[in-house]
Symmetry: C2
Subunit: 480 residues, 2 copies
């Protein structure tokens, strides 16, 4: 007897063999046709039972959500939409699902809103949409590791709990073992961190970059892929308080090399899911077409999901300096007609999402890499250009998503770095170890950060970032 997963049996040609499969009932029609799914694929396996030979009390327990074991023979299917089916000789109920209780959940067979599904995040992975999204997410993760490992990058786990808050990438969560009801204080009323678990103030990391740099300057080329955190009160479809970030860092690599790396990397991982997630992507594409129908035409996607992914894989990203971009924006229709919320007037302006989307979606109509930003709007560790006013930063902008990658060549010159830190009031004592890397064999090096959930959003076409991570953390929401 062949014991198999649904995914395996669906492509099997071992007709007339006895098979056994376990899974959950997705639907049961006419007391005859069970659609069985076990999570191995978006597709269900049809199991046909002979209801005349099946006891009535068993038939009643074959309900949506129930776990069952089906034994039978594999047959070429005469129905449309599937190649094989099982003609069941026996069905065993492994775990019931009371239809009255199922009715109260998102497992009930009707259309539920994405908001409703979020409230039952522990069950939503049993729906077609979330099964597909989470399988694609998993494959994307593997593609990330595969790309870097095949290219001899070393994976580094930078710390999650950090005593350093110098990066200034945003508000941080505090980590403590104190009883919050009764926090130990010093005589002057300040918190006595000496009594805390780590003996100092600690936070959740916002980025592993600085630690990653210390490793790149020893191992040559490294990447991180781990959770990062922002305690920002942003209730948007693009922000999470807890998200996964990918941060490669490469010694002896300048900004051009960094752009090449980012572009090649993104193309590799998208190609990987195009090749390995065909059924899930086809489903998600269909879903998006359906979703689009309810939108005004101007907001519909100009390309289907798979075409969009192929387009990114097959085309060069457009590389444009910040200065060029400002010129394009200044002369653009929405700027002249004052349709932008923020009108671009002068060089030095920080670009808003509306500007980034104009450049990508209207002007260039392809992914864009903007580089050489004004120093004043970028972080302290980015390398100053000879012009003294721009830094070797780059952002990659994607259609529908906006910024998906932010990176830079790092300031490798100790004196320039120290001067910049002094200007911004960053304590050298705090970052003594970071400065050490510039003292002992410093070199040109570069890296970038890619928010993994934004990549999953782009790949799956899900419009809300809360729908591409298993249990999203957002302001006022840490359920499960």
């Amino acid at each position: 007897m062949i014991k198999g997963k649904v995914a395996e049996l669906l492509v099997s040609t071992q007709y007339l063999q006895e098979v056994q499969v376990k899974g959950w009932v997705r639907s049961f029609r006419s007391n005859r046709f069970i659609a069985l799914n076990d999570g191995s694929t978006i597709n269900n396996l049809q199991c046909v039972i002979d209801f005349e030979k099946t006891p009535e009390d068993l038939l009643k327990r074959i309900t949506v959500g129930a776990a069952i074991k089906v034994t039978g023979t594999l047959h070429e299917s005469l129905g449309s939409g599937q190649k094989v089916e099982i003609q069941a000789t026996s069905v065993e109920i492994l775990g019931d699902a009371d239809p009255e209780e199922v009715k109260l959940t998102i497992l009930s067979p009707k259309r539920h809103s994405l908001e409703k599904l979020r409230e039952q995040a522990h069950l939503r992975v049993r729906t077609n949409t979330f099964g597909a999204v989470m399988r694609v997410r998993s494959k994307l993760s593997y593609a990330v590791h595969s790309y870097f490992q095949q290219n001899n990058f070393h994976y580094v786990n930078t710390p999650i709990i950090t005593g350093s808050d110098a990066e200034g990438a945003g508000e941080m969560f505090k980590v403590t073992s104190f009883d919050l009801k009764d926090v130990p204080k010093n005589e002057d009323g300040s918190v006595n961190y000496k009594e805390d678990f780590f003996g100092k103030e600690t936070n959740l990391t916002v980025s592993g970059q600085l630690e990653g740099e210390t490793y790149a300057l020893g191992l040559g080329q490294i990447y991180t892929f781990g959770p990062t955190f922002r305690a920002e009160n942003s209730n948007t479809s693009r922000h999470l308080a807890e998200f996964w970030m990918i941060e490669p860092e490469v010694a002896f690599c300048d900004l051009d090399g960094n752009m090449d790396l980012a572009e090649e990397f993104i193309k590799y991982v998208l190609k990987y899911v195009l090749d390995n997630c065909k059924d899930d992507l086809a489903f998600l594409e269909e879903r998006l077409v359906g979703e689009d129908k309810s939108k005004p035409e101007s907001e519909r996607s100009p390309m289907t999901l798979i075409d969009k992914l192929r387009f990114v894989v097959d085309n060069n990203f457009k590389r444009v300096s910040y200065t060029e971009a400002i010129e394009i924006l200044k002369n653009s229709k929405p700027n002249k007609k004052k349709k932008f919320n923020y009108i671009i007037e002068d060089w030095g302006a920080d670009l808003q999402s509306e500007h980034e989307r104009y450049l990508v979606e209207k002007h260039f109509k392809c992914p864009v890499i903007l580089f050489d930003y004004p120093a004043d709007i970028k972080a302290f560790y980015m390398r100053l250009n000879e012009d003294g006013k721009t830094v070797r930063a780059m952002d990659i902008l994607f259609p529908g998503i906006g910024e998906i990658v932010g990176g830079s060549q790092r300031e490798e010159r100790l004196d320039v770095l120290k001067k910049k830190m002094a200007e911004l009031g960053i304590d050298e004592e705090e970052l003594w170890w970071y400065l050490d890397t510039r003292k002992f064999g410093t070199c040109v090096h570069s890296g970038f950060g890619l928010g993994f959930e934004r990549l999953v959003q782009f790949t799956t076409g899900m419009s809300n970032i809360r729908d591409v991570i298993a249990f999203p953390r957002t302001p006022l929401n840490a359920e499960f």
Copy 2:
């Protein structure tokens, strides 16, 4: 001109070709022989310079730790220990390393203690030992992902910040956005968590298992691989406050299947590093031989590092019930002679590290899987056996390490689970979502947790767990 990494050039046979390589000086002998390393391998590339043609001020700057670019021709090496060398035509200093400053760091060419190296965790990856450990760690990580992905497991990122503290696996860190100097209180003096970022009390996860189960019961087979936390004041060589854990979870799988999975998985990842980290393992094996020489004979490793790894890969793990193990321990010499700190008297005793090590290292002399533990000493979610007093738990014990895996078949029966939770005072309201999985198509399922750093310890032979993670977090230590 061939631009290459040290690892590539060392195996190149393109003799007499012009090559260029960048890296850091590991040593410089006789004003002639530079040992160059770029992190791509444990091995250095010898670059031979003609000091008569090299300006003196350049010679002076070729110091340990400096970053340099060497151009020259590739030659078959006449010296021992290397196949090729570069006869340099030019050396360029990319980043100096002032010898006076280097003297104060662990980069200085002498033997430093592992404790000293820990204080300079940002530099220690430039040493042979830590370069090797971190490369092996990276490859092990990839082997973990490869094993599960090749076996159609889906990677799930369970939440790091959690509102649930029901697992009771130990003390948890609190996560908050409150100003700890001034925590908002209710009228009764309790903390007003409604004002906190998530509107409730939140902690850092100790395990992704419960959330992982919800996903396994939809996707079939999943795994997590992410950071977990314990706020325990354990200053030992086996404990970290922040460590990475691997947790697979499989629907329709019982404890026997779980043991098979764990054993096959561990053998796969060890085999992978044996095949892919030969040079690093050879170095680490040598290191261990050296370390052993300073130990009394009774404490030395009975096997070399690579033999030990091969032994695990090639032999079956011994499967022994808790009840059998207790009999063996009760009748053992150290128990009879009262050499154990905890004498085993009765069935039901919790095994200590000394007992586990006796079973593995003295009695069976191979990895051991203990199963069917007394219910009273195990967690609430483990499946109760028909005897009413043992649960379907398993621990895998490794030589030198002790427990490396803890797993179980999960209690899939709603009524039994609820009864157990009531006995232990675990709030059903708190775990409503976990109980839901037992209401809607519950099924036999199993999983385990493997502490990744313990696996890295075993694989590299490092005796302190702080030496197998980039920036260890332990009580009073969150530097970097």
